[in-house]
């Protein structure tokens, strides 16, 4: 019988965790290329978790972005993060999810054309009236616009929608009061929604 290959001692995923932590630090320090490297790692992990969840409950799954994303990060980091890192962690998490979703939506959009149905671009073959394939792209644009004149509100929306944090958690992360988060959130989402309706055509 063949001898089984020996596993290297220690936690085999340490390397990946270190890499992720390093990339996080670099990204928060302003290194934009770190995000590029981080995205596929996070995305891969997201997919793994989602696949597991889909398999487990097949149809009944209700996707909670919060759970998925936080689980993805925690799996990657696996260590207790200190306060500073925790703030970074959630800020980053929100930013990353948004980024991942937007990139994927763009990719899908060009993908679809790539399937190459004669006589029509895939966009033409929409069969469903409620189709909003680019909804996330419109939202992303609107968020970008919001950030230009009110950065904090854009962060509030990100944290609330893309990592699913509560008002209190958001307040804690952004170091502002509960009431401020609430007001910010109300105004920001109302403006975003009106903006999306305006843009969505």
């Amino acid at each position: 019988m063949e001898a089984p290959e020996l596993e290297p001692a220690g936690n085999p995923s340490n390397g990946l965790q270190d890499e992720v932590t390093g990339l996080l630090r670099r990204w928060t320090a302003g290194d934009r290329s770190a995000l590029e490297q981080l995205t596929p790692l996070i995305y891969g992990e997201l997919r793994n978790i989602a696949r597991g969840a889909l398999k487990k409950e097949s149809r009944q799954i209700s996707l909670e972005t919060t759970g998925l994303v936080n689980e993805a990060f925690l799996r990657l980091l696996k260590t207790d993060v200190d306060w500073q890192d925790r703030r970074h962690f959630f800020a980053l998490s929100a930013r990353l999810v948004r980024r991942v979703l937007v990139d994927l939506a763009r990719e899908r959009k060009s993908d679809k054309r790539g399937y190459g149905i004669p006589h029509l671009a895939l966009d033409n073959a929409r069969l469903i009236s409620v189709d909003k394939p680019s909804g996330i792209l419109v939202l992303d644009d609107a968020l970008e616009a919001l950030a230009k004149f009110d950065e904090r509100k854009a962060r509030v929306v990100e944290l609330r929608f893309f990592t699913g944090l509560t008002i209190d958690e958001t307040a804690e992360i952004l170091e502002i009061s509960h009431a401020t988060v609430e007001r910010d959130f109300q105004a920001a989402k109302a403006w975003l929604a009106s903006e999306i309706q305006k843009r969505e055509r």
Binding site: K112, H119, A125, E200
Partner: protein, 885 residues
């Protein structure tokens, strides 16, 4: 936006947010701000705020779902080629059946399935309703439904005709179609919409993206995703609003009543057709929305008068062009003309037609899509169009001289068509039940076909590797799929289970047959009343399987239930009732209640002679059952006559090699044997074996029965050595196919034991008798004649070995049993005679006499005078000094 302005906006928003309707308006109006658009924007934010969370949350959620969606490899039997659409809750795929499954290149289809991960009951119901709606629609300009099914993962989906086409507006522009061409194309669209309306379906979402034109120029209406069925009893709770968070209807094509969320009629589709025509003719939407807030949209659509299509080509470059929209020149060029020419072409009839379709009030529009297209056709033929009927100038110009007459005619026509509408609607409603039933059957047969394709694919690689798939394996797979995949179509599932239950019984697998029929019956009881045919038929099938399984009591009980249900429903003079009687007769026959059986079979036959064709299988079944009962009652002549009658009927209608002909011959064998006509009987049984072995193979239990009979016959003819292998073969088959404890096994064991006994192999015979007795007692009970006969045989064995004291108590029991159940039956003579002879042997003539006397009496009824057996008994009575002998 500049931060100061944003702060102002935000402050106003927060203040106004806490106020309600009128207060809010007053507050906003009281604000002195530079530029009305700040107020507009605050209003837009307030409007949007109500649904902002679900709107944005919905976008993020569906982005996550989309991100995690992997293109499935397969759905049901279909291979997924690519994704061609995705909506709030559905994905649409281009798919095809794999070539290896169909042996030929297959057409691509579209498959619409709920998105994985976003399943809600509403969405499922929506999908179900869409397919129900599509199932009603068969029109060359409507994308066809090819089937509605559930995948192996339990996801509902449906299969549609795949349309490779362009949205109608883009198609016309890309091909530079002229106004005339566009109008003719549009009329085809109207015919599709009108057809849907005639079938009581409103589309509610007519727009270019739902109207694809194939390369050969055929328009196809698709996406009935928010369509509505007008029949109140068929339409479900309308889930469109509950999906509002995810859906945002394109406002351009929505009717005023639609944006106001009022009840919708077919007029809403006429309006949307008007918008579509507007766009096709002039290339612009009828309205411009300054804000996309629902209130602003509602306001514009309810109140703004759309400019006439021709006005877009009035000369000066419009605001729109300055805002980067296509120029009038470009639009005209796409229509193969120039702007001034286009303006002239649209002005007049076409402007009127479009604007009439776009009337704010539904009753001012065309009454139907058909009327809209008829007006267009009139325009194309240069006849006056009804849209301009009310314009005095137009009337004066077009038919001033016939004014009075035309009004009279118009009134008459209106009256006639109103009446016609009533009739049509009523006829439609009346025809509805019939049509939907027919369509359901069609859809079901499509599903059955697909299911069969799936079943025959037999995906288990192990079975495929062995290179051999038996019918039973295919069936097992089918049964499994039926149970798991058809949860959403209980009726279809029950039908298929019942069918398969029957097939299993025909294959001799009574246990499986019973399981499936049990389940089918349970499902059908939920769906139907007790006296409804599906329930009755399933009970009858189940009873047959119970009879085949030897569960005679259970069958009897079940059939009694069926009988009472039919009686309670007043359906006791019907063919199903007659069949129930026949089956009951069969159960009673097996329970040896021969008089009841005969009676029931007679009743059934009488009913069937009135109700059915003389060659009807059900009638023949009753007749042949009656014959069988008669033969059991040893009325061989009557039985023979009936069996010959049924044999003739069956041969005439079924041919010489039908299983029923074989059964008939087998029954005749028994009668001929009973009559002592062994040669004829042997001939009949060998013919039975020939037919059955051809049909079922030579190791099927039913052939085994014939082997048994042949063995018995040969034994009766004294060819004991030849008989033994047939009986052994029969027993072997019965054990393998029916199981160790089937009542038929006991019969075989007894026959085999008797043969062994005749060959003086007493030990073998005794062992066989005892095993048979065990079975008889367990399956049929102590009092059953077969059990008694078994005991009698054991007694004969003891007697043959001189063990009289062992034989006598057995014979006492046999005689008691026979006397209780059939005191006048010939067969009682056997134990009596044996007991009498033992008494003689023991020198006890006093006890022997009554037995011998009764035996003689019974046999005298049966046998011709001077028969050897009668002589013998008379001699024995003499020996005992019987005075009467």
């Amino acid at each position: 936006m500049d931060p100061a302005r944003w702060q102002q906006l935000e402050a106003l928003f927060h203040e106004a947010r806490l106020l309600d309707g009128t207060e809010r308006r007053a507050f906003l109006e009281s604000q002195r701000v530079d530029g009305a658009d700040v107020i507009d924007q605050v209003e837009a934010m307030l409007e949007a705020n109500r649904q902002a969370s679900s709107e944005i949350g919905g976008i993020v959620d569906s982005a996550v779902v989309n991100a995690l969606q992997k293109l499935p490899d397969r759905i049901g039997p279909y291979e997924i080629v690519s994704q061609i659409g995705a909506g709030g809750f559905c994905s649409v795929y281009r798919a095809r059946l794999p070539e290896e499954a169909t042996q030929e290149a297959t057409q691509n289809v579209a498959i619409k399935v709920l998105k994985r991960g976003l399943t809600s009951r509403d969405a499922e119901r929506r999908l179900q309703q869409e397919s129900e709606i599509l199932a009603r629609l068969h029109h060359p300009n409507i994308a066809r439904l090819l089937g509605h099914r559930t995948s192996h993962l339990g996801e509902p989906y449906f299969v549609l005709e795949l349309i490779d086409g362009e949205p109608i507006d883009r198609f016309c522009d890309n091909h530079r179609w002229t106004i005339d061409q566009r109008l003719k194309l549009f009329c085809q669209v109207c015919s599709a919409v009108d057809y849907a309306h005639a079938n009581l379906v409103i589309h509610r979402d007519i727009k270019p993206n739902n109207l694809l034109v194939t390369p050969d120029g055929t328009p196809k209406l698709l996406d009935f995703g928010i369509a509505k069925l007008l029949l109140p009893e068929l339409s479900r709770a309308d889930p469109v609003h509950t999906l509002a968070g995810n859906s945002w209807m394109t406002p351009d094509y929505a009717s005023p009543e639609q944006v106001r969320e009022e009840p919708l009629t077919t007029a809403t589709d006429v309006y949307s057709l008007g918008v579509l025509l507007y766009r096709l003719l002039c290339g612009r939407p009828p309205y411009q929305f300054h804000s996309r807030s629902p209130r602003a949209i509602e306001d514009v659509i309810s109140n703004a008068e759309p400019p006439a299509p021709s006005s877009h080509f009035a000369g000066l470059p419009s605001n729109r062009e300055r805002h980067g929209e296509a120029s009038a020149r470009d639009l005209a060029r796409c229509r193969g003309t120039t702007a001034p020419q286009l303006r002239d072409r649209l002005r007049g009839d076409l402007d009127s037609i479009v604007l009439m379709a776009l009337s704010k009030q539904a009753d001012r529009r065309y009454a139907s899509a058909l009327q809209l297209s008829q007006d267009i056709e009139r325009h194309l033929r240069s006849e006056p169009v009804s849209a301009r009927r009310l314009t005095p100038f137009y009337l004066a110009r077009k038919f001033v001289r016939r004014h009075a007459i035309s009004v009279g005619v118009a009134v008459a026509i209106l009256a006639t068509s109103a009446a016609a509408v009533v009739v049509t609607t009523r006829a439609t409603l009346h025809a509805e039940a019939e049509r939907s039933r027919a369509e359901r059957h069609l859809a079901e047969s499509q599903q059955v076909a697909e299911l069969l394709v799936e079943i025959f694919e037999v995906p288990d690689p192990k079975i495929v590797r062995e290179g051999r798939v038996t019918a039973e394996e295919v069936l097992d797979e089918g049964a499994r799929r039926i149970a798991t995949q058809l949860q959403h179509q209980p009726e279809l599932r029950a039908s298929l289970m019942a069918i398969m239950g029957r097939v299993y019984r025909n294959l001799g697998n009574n246990r499986k047959s019973r399981e499936l029929l049990d389940e089918a019956l349970a499902h059908r009881r939920e769906l139907h009343g007790d006296a409804d045919l599906p329930v009755i038929e399933t009970q009858q099938e189940l009873a047959r399987s119970l009879l085949a399984q030897g569960e005679y009591e259970a069958a009897n009980e079940l059939l009694r239930t069926t009988q009472s249900s039919l009686q309670a429903a007043g359906r006791d003079e019907t063919a199903p009732y007659a069949l129930t009687l026949t089956l009951l007769a069969g159960a009673r026959k097996q329970m040896n209640q021969l008089d009841e059986a005969e009676n029931l079979a007679q009743q059934a036959l009488e009913l069937q002679r009135v109700l059915l064709d003389p060659a009807d299988p059900a009638l023949i079944e009753s007749m042949s059952l009656l014959a069988e009962v008669l033969s059991l009652k040893r009325d061989f002549d009557a039985a023979e006559a009936k069996f010959r009658e049924t044999l003739e009927l069956r041969r005439a209608h079924l041919g010489d090699n039908h299983p029923d002909v074989a059964t008939n011959l087998g029954d005749l064998t028994v009668v001929l044997h009973g009559q002592g006509r062994f040669e004829e009987a042997e001939q009949a049984v060998r013919e039975t074996i020939r037919i059955r072995a051809n049909l079922y193979g030579d190791d099927h239990w039913i052939v085994g029965t014939s082997y048994h009979n042949l063995g018995q016959l040969l034994a009766a003819k004294g060819q004991v050595d030849e008989a033994l292998p047939w009986l052994e073969r029969s027993l072997e088959i019965s054990r393998a196919q029916l199981g160790q404890d089937h009542p038929k096994i006991a019969g075989s064991l007894v026959s085999l034991a008797m043969l062994n006994q005749r060959l003086d192999r007493f030990q073998e015979a005794e062992a066989l008798y005892l095993r048979a007795l065990e079975l008889h007692r367990e399956k049929l009970g102590e009092q059953h004649p077969s059990t008694a006969r078994n005991l009698y045989q054991i007694a004969t064995l003891h007697a043959a070995q001189g063990r009289h004291q062992k034989a006598l108590p057995l014979l006492d029991r046999v005689v008691a049993t026979f006397r209780a159940s059939m005191p006048h039956d010939y067969r009682l003579s056997h134990p009596l005679l044996l007991r009498g002879r033992i008494f003689i042997e023991l020198g006890n003539c006093a006890q022997a006499l009554p037995d011998l006397r009764q035996a003689l009496e019974l046999r005298q009824n049966e046998l011709p005078e001077g028969h050897e057996s009668l002589e013998e008994i008379t001699a024995e009575l003499d020996l005992c000094g019987d005075s009467r002998a």
